[in-house]
């Protein structure tokens, strides 16, 4: 058995005053560990435009390795620019997943465009950094992984991993847009693709995680961590309707696998839930698990899917 001891929120985006593109949200944390500090990538937004529409950027914050609640610095600029006219990432680059590979830092990210009948569509792009993850260059103007017959839209939430000499990309794919009170709401499930070179991907074309709370449950942030001979996945899930509040909003789920393909879901073992009060009392989402100096941590989002920032929790017990 294991559980997560909450340590608190790392920073509040509303209190960061010097960056015009960082006004609200610090979403989808992803770590890159350095000798003296831990770089946490996250996605954020400037103020909404006159129509109330947001764009989203990704950036990073460096935290003191020996005190993860001490902010050392923020990125000067977003790590990726928005795409040009008609490109898949014209209105957002969120979220991002980061990995080191032979001296290069590689990023897979979701790019957002706006549609007419539904609010948006998303596809997965790729970028590389040659300066230890400070800045990134897109590998091309189009997506690295796009839509296919069984993954027709909303390809998002990439999480890149490299296990046993093979690349795994966990992500979500939309299965339907559901009309709820006249509004189109996306239903998405957790999927995976594999690659030997990180460029050409083979989709597994299978929902990895069975739905539990309802058939149209939406699942996101498939974060896979290897420990004690097993793959542990922490993810988040929500109801398809009225999910912007506490009752139907995001919670963190858990599944395990020995082969990365067949997953056994058991949310009762997730070991973390909403708090009685405070910044994460309504919902918790977008988990990211990482190991640092002999401890295992989870970064996760609180209320309103990270509008007020992300926090950390520490593993108690063993991931078995």
């Amino acid at each position: 058995m294991f559980s997560w001891k909450k340590l608190g929120k790392v920073f509040t985006p509303q209190e960061v005053n010097h960056l015009p593109w960082l006004k609200e949200f610090a979403q989808a944390p992803a770590t890159l560990i350095f000798e003296d500090f831990v770089r946490i990538y996250f996605s954020c937004r400037p103020s909404a435009d006159e129509k109330g529409m947001y764009v989203s950027y990704s950036a990073w914050v460096d935290l003191d390795r020996h005190n993860l609640f001490k902010v050392l610095r923020f990125a000067k600029d977003p790590i990726l620019s928005l795409g040009g006219h008609g490109e898949f990432d014209e209105f957002g680059t969120y979220p991002v997943s980061i990995i080191r590979d032979e001296g290069v830092v590689k990023a897979w990210y979701a790019g957002w465009t706006r549609c007419e009948s539904v609010p948006f569509n998303v596809a997965i792009g790729m970028a590389q950094s040659y300066d230890e993850g400070e800045t990134f260059q897109k590998m091309g103007p189009g997506p690295a992984i796009s839509y296919s017959p069984d993954e027709p839209f909303v390809m998002s939430g990439p999480k890149i991993r490299h296990f046993n000499g093979q690349w795994q990309l966990f992500y979500i794919a939309g299965s339907k847009w559901k009309k709820v009170d006249g509004r189109a709401e996306p239903v998405y499930k957790i999927r995976m693709a594999t690659s030997t070179d990180g460029i050409n991907w083979k989709k597994l074309n299978k929902d990895l995680i069975s739905s539990r709370i309802e058939e149209d449950e939406a699942q996101a942030s498939p974060d896979v961590f290897f420990a004690n001979g097993k793959y542990h996945m922490f993810f988040c899930y929500r109801y398809s309707a009225d999910y912007r509040g506490k009752q139907n909003g995001y919670r963190i789920g858990y599944a395990w696998s020995v082969d990365l393909i067949d997953w056994h879901r058991d949310d009762s073992r997730a070991g973390i839930d909403v708090s009685e009060s405070g910044w994460d009392a309504e919902m918790i989402s977008y988990p990211h698990v990482f190991e640092l100096d002999g401890e295992v941590y989870m970064a996760y989002l609180g209320d309103q899917v990270g509008r007020y920032g992300f926090g950390l929790a520490k593993l108690e017990g063993e991931l078995i």
Binding site: G86, D150, G174
Partner: protein
């Protein structure tokens, strides 16, 4: 030099409306040859109630083998509407059919509207097991969509099965351009080629294969390929990037290229210059060509003025 015989307009959607609540057009005619007749698929339009915008639906007309007499028109569109948020939600145009192992495969170009640009497109696959009467989708998503080096519109598939391999000629967008800062963006697209073993998974090399004759912004569309006389002939249409809807001489006309090896193409528009006309249904514009063989003859279907509003016509390549 290729020699052509024109047979004029053969189908008018005004005289033979394919949809009860349709608003005209019979675009991108594409043929499926049967023993006693030729079925010609085309995209026609209906108007979306909520927005007043057009949606393209695929219908067919069966014609006798002289290609002059209409036998019947499809009772309803051959494929249902696309799903909410899917790549083909706002219509299918064009619709390219191929008979293969007892089924009819159709590569669709699906349209979905965007906010910052007017539209995005991708290529889907649909299958008919009733001789092309009705089609069902191979999934709600596309078989070929935007990719790393083809970031915009992907569409206008034409597929042939040659020596055990599916070959697709298609177009991909190379950018959205504005004539002036205030103007709505216009798209630029070029012809490319992909290969597949099964018609579903495609390998593409993301490079243009047909030289431009206008300038770099020449828009090339709807390639169609046929083998005749020991070489491959490709006909397509091309136009200027800006003001192509209104200004005379800037709209679509037919282009031509040939190849001996399906790899290198030699452009030579003079091979189709004989098709030009004056004061006719196709004198201002010629577009959306489709080559097919029927009883040892090679035919060209194509649209004329106003992108096929008045219907489609026929020409014959004299062998």
């Amino acid at each position: 030099m290729l020699n052509w015989k024109k047979h004029g307009l053969i189908f008018s959607p005004t005289l033979n409306p394919p949809l009860v609540n349709g608003v005209g057009f019979a675009q991108s005619p594409q043929a499926l040859v049967f023993d006693d007749y030729v079925r010609i698929y085309f995209s026609t339009r209906e108007q979306e109630a909520s927005t007043g915008k057009f949606i393209s639906r695929v219908c067919y007309v069966d014609m006798d083998k002289s290609l002059q007499e209409i036998i019947r028109i499809s009772p309803a569109p051959v494929i249902g509407p696309g799903a909410l948020g899917a790549f083909d939600e706002h219509g299918i145009f064009p619709f390219n059919v191929l008979r293969h192992k007892g089924k009819i495969m159709a590569w669709t170009t699906g349209w979905n509207r965007r906010v910052s640009v007017s539209v995005d497109t991708a290529i889907g696959l649909a299958i008919s097991e009733d001789e092309g009467e009705t089609f069902s989708r191979h999934g709600n998503g596309p078989v070929m969509a935007a990719s790393m080096n083809e970031p915009y519109l992907v569409g206008d598939a034409f597929v042939a099965h040659i020596n055990g391999c599916f070959h697709m000629w298609y177009i991909f967008g190379t950018g959205w351009k504005k004539k002036s800062p205030e103007a709505e963006p216009d798209r630029v697209y070029k012809i490319a080629h992909a290969k597949s073993d099964n018609g579903i998974n495609w390998e593409r090399d993301s490079k243009t294969i047909i030289d431009s004759v206008l300038d770099d912004d020449e828009c090339q569309a709807l390639p169609t390929v046929i083998e005749a006389g020991g070489r491959y002939h490709m006909i397509f249409c091309y136009r200027e990037c800006f003001d192509f809807r209104l200004q005379q001489g800037r709209g679509y006309r037919l282009g031509y290229a040939w190849s001996g090896d399906l790899s290198t193409w030699h452009r030579d528009d003079s091979q189709v210059s004989q098709l030009m006309s004056q004061g006719e249904w196709d004198s201002n514009m010629q577009c959306y060509p489709h080559l097919f063989r029927c009883d040892d003859k090679v035919y060209l279907l194509y649209n004329g003025n106003s992108f096929g509003k008045e219907g489609f016509g026929l020409a014959e390549m004299m062998l």
